[in-house]
């Protein structure tokens, strides 16, 4: 059984915020994850790739990422996640930390 990859694009018409610098946040500890966020021209959209040992949560990932992109109005960004069974609360926390790092550095 190989690792499971989830990929999707999020396109909100409200997305206006772009990040300034590529950023890396988090450690792939137990129940934790790391995320890379990079500016990328995606016609206002956000593309996401998640690599995780856990299957069966594809919809959940989509919902959590939708919420994050929605609340930050993020656009033109590539997000890559290595996950090790993080809960949605941890996922949102790490994404917000990464966002704050990418927009204030």
């Amino acid at each position: 059984m190989a690792l499971h990859t989830v990929e999707f694009d999020i396109k909100l018409n409200t997305g206006t915020i772009t990040i300034d610098v590529p950023t890396h946040t988090g450690v792939v500890g137990s129940s934790d994850m790391e995320v890379l966020m990079e500016p990328k021209d995606l016609e206002g959209g956000v593309s996401v790739r998640i690599v995780t040992p856990v299957t069966g949560f594809d919809d959940l990932w989509k919902r959590v990422l939708d919420k994050f992109v929605n609340e930050t109005a993020l656009s033109d960004t590539r997000i890559e996640i290595n996950d090790n069974n993080a809960t949605p609360a941890v996922v949102l926390l790490r994404l917000r930390q990464a966002f704050s790092q990418a927009t204030t550095d």
């Binding site: 129940s31 919902r63 069974n85 809960t87 941890v90 926390l93």
Partner: protein, 560 residues
Amino acid sequence: MAQMSNDDTRKKRNQRAADTAARLEAAAPLFGAGKEVSSDNTVALLEAVIRAGDIVNIEGNNQKQADFLAESLNKVDRSKIHDLHMVQSAVPLASHLDLFENGIAKKLDFAFGGPQAGRVAKFISEGKLQLGAIHTYLELFGRYFLDLTPRVSLICAFKADRKGNLYTGFNTEDTPTIVEATKFRQGIVIAQVNEIVDELPRVDIPGDWIDAVIQSPKPFFVEPLFTRDPGLITDNQILLAMLCLKGIYAEYGVTSMNHGIGFLTSAIELLLPTYGEELGLKGKICTHMILNPHPTMIPAIETDWVDTIHCFGGELGMEDYVASRPDVFFIGPDGTLRSNRAFAQTAGHYALDMFIGGTLQIDKYGNSSTATASRVAGFGGAPNMGCDAKGRRHSTGAWLQCGQELPSLDQQLGTMPRGKRLVVQGVETFGEGRQPVFVDKLDAWKLAENANLDLPPVMIYGDDLTHIVTEEGVAYLNRCPDLDSRMAAIRAVAGYTDIGLQAKPEETKRLREANIVKTPDDLGVDPSRATRAMLAAKSVKDLVTWSNGLYNPPSRFRNW
């Protein structure tokens, strides 16, 4: 009219005393000096004083355990001693359940299963164990004085003198309750002690209530159940703690409370000197607590947050620290703590303004339970504190405010004002292994089926629960006019669980406008500040430093 006479021929009402005397007479050859019985004679003593079918208590507390007597009871001749009815608050030791496996005990009435919860469930389904009921501590203590009075109690103490006086000290816990119930209905009380001395630091239990004293080969087992390593507190728990402090402690000015055993409440304790201070809450919250001596309380005590703490039991390693703070803790004339579970639970049930704890599952109505389908874990003390004590008559600000916010109060009492206990569950929406905490139906239902229970074991009923705190925010269930609105408020903070996904944005918006739901943003809590830097102590070593070297953590918590 019958003539009164001194020659009373009515049925004798002193048979228990006579029976006790006969049993002790049979044991007489086993006694050494005074009430001392050698540990080698323990099994013989138990065989002499226990009869088949007796109600027996083995002191199984939350913390200290009469472990030697429990093991000895497993060695009695089961052709003579069988079908015992065990009544005891906790059954955490393997030997407690071995009694059922060995055919010595048949029936169990208890409050807390701990590590043996799986075996309790298994034995029930295999017919080895007949369950009386799962109680709360106070409820079971009450029945000791009603219909479950032990015939023989096997208790434990730190020290005894030769007259049988006992020193139970720091870990007094259930002992006074068990001994009083047993002895004053002519029962037999046998104590295992760590040492027999000429003079005790103080007398916790008078010697004439004790029949036999045995120095056990090893000191009794005590579990450091309430020690939480600050090093393991997560950022999300800190976020929840900030929400609790701002959204509940400050909102209601809660001065008296009990904290459950989890990491969230440890985080709250460690945020008092930092975030609590920043919010200007010192003196306004957390002044009176019913708590075991949590090591994570040390920084708050050292920064003068707390007036008093009364304890259910002790906590390993906290002896010297607690003894050095007699203004805060309940210390005897000898200078050491006396805990007492019955009194602490009484305070917890009637006098506290708030209970805050965690749980494994909350259903869509707000009922919560830590039961899983294959474990009869029991309740311990949480339900005594995690409910509204209807007999309460004194008023405090927090209690009154919580009650006055109930929109439905006038449906029951007309214009009569009344308060309500704050009962708070703080949970992350998903627990370990991404298990949702919010569920449609509690696993307790499956357990009730598997273990033939009359009721699903519910820790806190939905109508007692007043607040839920998750990473999504605070749900003020006490502000909901009806069950539909409560269910909507629960959905609104249930995050990405199936329950949470049923929340409708416009409904959540209305609940926020009505102050029934508050998000971190609504409360002015910035999640990016929720990091371990907020903690007043980040490690067990920091706690030792805060205590000025008086806290002596058990070996398993030492990383230096």
